[in-house]
């Protein structure tokens, strides 16, 4: 009798649980679920804002997008940007986290200053990069000229050879603080005893780093790398605000190309096909991420 009453109470309780989560679910269905389904649908129809008829076209939009001369370039750039960017962000984040993990005066201020690139709104910081890269009066040109390294100004963002490097530099600068904070938390989880034991055995600082610090960080580092790849894969702002994919489409990533197809060329259908392709590729990374999270939890 008691057990039965308890059971029914719990069942009623679960109902409250669902109710409390309902607002969140409703918002997700409306603002994420519906648009995704709609985009997938649009990618199989001819769908332009200027036309009223929307005939079914099968995989035509996908074929059009894959045949677009900028597509392969944007694919290459996306991978270069995501994996190359992740590599440098982790390198920089690890180095800075190791520095910040020491005990010294002013550590809090140093950490705040090093996190600023993440905090300052992206349009503010990117217009500053834009200004620094300026082809005439940008500070990079002026410094390089004064040092005698170049004799004529370089239009950093306006020429093919340099634009992608500039965009990647700004992207790494924007993204390292998150990685730094994650690795710093990982470092702080390593106990003093582990270091003491290694020192007693006579290990050199290098041995301590490679035998204790790095292995203890492997979980955090893996998560940081895959998250960085996912975030960079979704990158739109840096490229759009610095180059709009130019010069002559050389810095397009998949997201900027999708945006251009939809909102500049007004081809909603092809833009949708492009974003669905991005989603499918992203699903692979999300799968890896989920697997890694489960491994971390198991440990």
């Amino acid at each position: 009798m008691v057990a039965k009453r308890f059971h029914s109470l719990e069942a009623r309780d679960n109902w409250v649980g669902y109710a409390l989560l309902t607002p969140a679910i409703l918002i997700f269905v409306m603002i994420t679920g519906f648009p995704v389904v709609f985009s997938i649908t649009m990618s199989f129809f001819r769908w332009r804002p200027t036309e009223t008829a929307n005939p079914f076209v099968g995989f035509n939009n996908y074929l059009r997008v894959f045949a677009n001369p900028s597509f392969l370039l944007s694919l290459r750039n996306t991978f270069l940007y995501a994996f190359g960017g992740a590599f440098f962000k982790v390198l920089l984040g690890l180095g800075l986290a190791l520095l910040l993990n020491q005990k010294f005066k002013g550590r809090g201020i140093a950490r705040t200053l090093l996190m600023l690139p993440w905090i300052v709104p992206i349009t503010a910081s990117l217009t500053s990069w834009n200004w620094m890269f300026d082809g005439m009066y940008g500070i990079f040109n002026i410094i390089l000229m004064r040092l005698g390294i170049i004799s004529e100004s370089i239009n950093f963002l306006g020429q093919k050879g340099t634009a992608l490097v500039c965009v990647m530099t700004a992207g790494i600068w924007l993204g390292y603080p998150q990685i730094m904070v994650m690795i710093l938390a990982g470092l702080q989880a390593i106990t003093v005893e582990q270091y003491e034991a290694a020192k007693l055995e006579g290990a050199t600082p290098f041995q301590v780093f490679f035998r204790i610090t790095l292995p203890s960080l492997s979980g955090v580092m893996k998560t940081a790398i895959i998250l960085s790849v996912i975030w960079t894969f979704n990158a739109f702002n840096v490229i759009w605000l610095l180059t709009r994919g130019g010069p002559s489409n050389s810095t397009h990533v998949m997201n900027t190309l999708a945006y251009e197809l939809s909102f500049v060329n007004m081809k909603y259908d092809q833009g949708a096909a492009m974003s669905v392709s991005i989603l499918i590729m992203l699903a692979v990374f999300l799968f890896i991420y989920t697997k890694m999270q489960k491994e971390n939890e198991a440990q």
Binding site: L114, T123, M132, M145, M182, N234, L279
Partner: protein, 286 residues
Amino acid sequence: MSTKKGRAFRHGIFLYSMLVIAIVVLCFPLYWMVKSSLTPVEKILTKDVSLGIEELDVSSYVNVWNGTDYASKLKMKEYMLNSFIVVGVSTLISICIATLGGYSLARFRYKGRETLAQGILYVYMFPQMILTTPLLMLVIKLGLYNNLWSLIIVYCTFSLPYSIWMMRSYFRELPKELEEAAMVDGCNRLQAIWKVMFPLAMPGVVATVTYSFIIGWSNVIYPLSFITDESKKLVSIGFLSLVSGDQTPWNGVMASAVISSMPVVLVFMFFQRYLVAGLASGGVKS
């Protein structure tokens, strides 16, 4: 003993010099933003510049704030107000929904709970690009184009997934006995959440609000797509209209950039100790 001291001293010198180099290099773009904003307009487009701050000319700030001189198209006052409305209201809505949702995921044992939690995490990693076109069409259909409500509603979603996760982890750490005691004392569950759990989860609430505020303030793609009316623009993109090729008044652009950064930088300075703990637990801001 002296060699040990000497080694510690050298270690300290090395540490500080590495840090100073890192900070100088990595903060340079922000320093340059401030420096340029304080340069008078006639000295901005010239090759005769120095790296130090030589003048403290605040006329660029006055011009962009009041929309005078070269900044006559700019309405910084309105942009700031619009941003505060959109980010403020959406953050408020988002924290309420995230508190309820996070509590639900932390406390109840209903079916599909883990799947739902995992699904919410995926939402947070979704590319905004796939959502933008359908949302724009929806916004137009609802007559919300050039209306701040379109942004308020959309802004709720992109901070919501992570906020729910953050609140869930805070609620998990609070002992169940507290709310049970409150419910024995005659509170219903909503009252128990509001009167007992919510105040106890305050550090989590502060972290979540700070996080929502920062990523909302910086968002680009939605205000870029939903708003064309000059007086409805947000500060994150409003001042970009001042950037126009070779004749860009960079002092004014940089002053606007500094103004638009101030709210988030201040919020971060005040609440960073809450936020950093949340950030470290893995993954924020796409």
